[in-house]
Each structure stands twice: as C-alpha cells, then as structure tokens.
C-alpha cells in the first residue's frame, strides 16, 4: 500500500493477556517509530528503529513492552500481561531516513478490560 498500515485497527483484550500489534511501514523506509496516545494527550514516544535495530527504546514504559523489526520492514509491538492502563491508541510511523518527514499510520486502538 501507499501508506503506513497498522493491524488490527481495534483490539479488545482481557487484563493479563498478551497482545501483538503490527506495523507495515512505507516500502523503502528505513526508520520506524512507535508512539502511544492516551485519551486527551499527545502521542508519546516509545521506540525507534533504524533498519533492524532499536536505536532508541527509552520510551518503553517497562519490561512488559517489547518491539521487534527482524527484517528491517514490518515491526511488531508486543505487550505482555496487559493492564487497564495500557489502553490507548498505538501509532506507528516511518520515514525514508532519520531527519526526514515521518508518516503515521491510522493507529491501533487497544482496550484492556
């Protein structure tokens, strides 16, 4: 596709369960970012990949959160033992290179009940 694609668009899960959120960046974009947007807040940085490696994971809130990008394209954000406070919209963005415009996907709305 032409843009950043995130699946699923909505995910409802029970407290304590494990979830995976997927991001397909724009083809050829080497940089990929995950952000989290809670209700009434702006997006909050989680992690940044340059190629396959996480160049900056300082925004991950705790060790229940993990993200991978094994082939330098698709990325998966993994959340273990979900808590109600994890409920938010998870946004993925990609850019051709660092220091260039980042394009966002539509987000995955995660609801933990």
């Amino acid at each position: 596709g032409a843009g950043v694609s995130q699946t699923p668009s909505n995910k409802v899960t029970e407290k304590g369960k494990y979830v995976e959120l997927r991001c397909d960046p724009i083809s050829g974009h080497t940089a990929l970012y995950w952000y989290r947007q809670s209700l009434g807040q702006g997006p909050e940085f989680l992690i940044y990949f340059q190629g396959t490696g996480a160049a900056d994971d300082s925004g991950l809130p705790n060790d229940r959160f993990f993200a991978v990008r094994p082939e330098g394209s698709v990325s998966t954000l993994k959340i273990q033992r979900t808590e109600r406070g994890d409920s938010a919209v998870y946004l993925c963005a990609s850019s051709l290179a660092p220091n260039t415009e980042a394009f966002f996907g539509q987000g995955t709305r995660l609801t933990v009940v």
């Binding site: 702006g42 940085f45 290179a97």
Partner: protein, 115 residues
C-alpha cells in the same frame, strides 16, 4: 513533566479569518519544531516545520513563527477554511546524531472553523 505545552485545548474561528495556535516548550535543547494535523480515526499528518536557526517558515496558508528567547511558537492559518477543522499537535525534537526521530508532542488544540 510536560516539555511541550499547548494551553488551549480548543479554538473556534470564523471561516476566512486567521487561526492562531500557540505552543510553549521548556527544554532548551529542542532545536526542531513541527506541527501535525489530525482528523478523527486517522494518524497525525505533517503540516509544517521550523528549525531553530529560523524565526519564520511559510507554506501557502500556513506560517510557523518561532521565538526562541520566549520558548514559544505559533501556527498561523490564513484564511481559515472548514477543512482545517482538526486537532493540531505541536512537536519538538533535539537533532542529535540520529536526527529528529524522537518527537515530544503537546496535548493538542482542537480547531473548529465556523462556516
């Protein structure tokens, strides 16, 4: 602590008039600033940016002004159009070795253009 602040959660402007959205920041290491526009159920879309070496950047109806001494920036939209109704986020970054990849966002201002 909120390093990027948008103190007006909402703003209503008559169509054709000027919309002015404000943003303040506290981190003096920020040197690159961006505005994003967001419609419901969509991701943010880049609008305009400015480097700290400039005090103004213009792109069509959109102009961003930066006042470094006051740690303040503003986005001017003129003339405002109904399609401009959206939530606007101010964002900032430090352009270190890896560029501007880590953005710090404000909480957003919902702009409503009244026909």
């Amino acid at each position: 602590d909120q390093q990027v602040k948008q103190n007006s959660p909402s703003l209503s402007v008559q169509e054709g008039r000027i919309s002015i959205l404000n943003c303040d920041y506290t981190n003096s290491m920020f040197d690159y600033f961006l505005w994003y526009k967001k419609y419901p159920a969509e991701g943010p879309t880049f609008l305009i940016s400015i480097s700290s070496i400039k005090d103004k950047n213009e792109d069509g109806r959109f102009t961003v002004f930066l006042n470094k001494s006051a740690k303040h920036l503003s986005l001017h939209i003129v003339p405002s159009q109904p399609g401009d109704s959206a939530v606007y986020f101010c964002a900032a970054s430090e352009t270190g070795n890896f560029g501007n990849e880590k953005l710090t966002f404000g909480t957003g201002t919902r702009l409503t253009i009244i026909p």
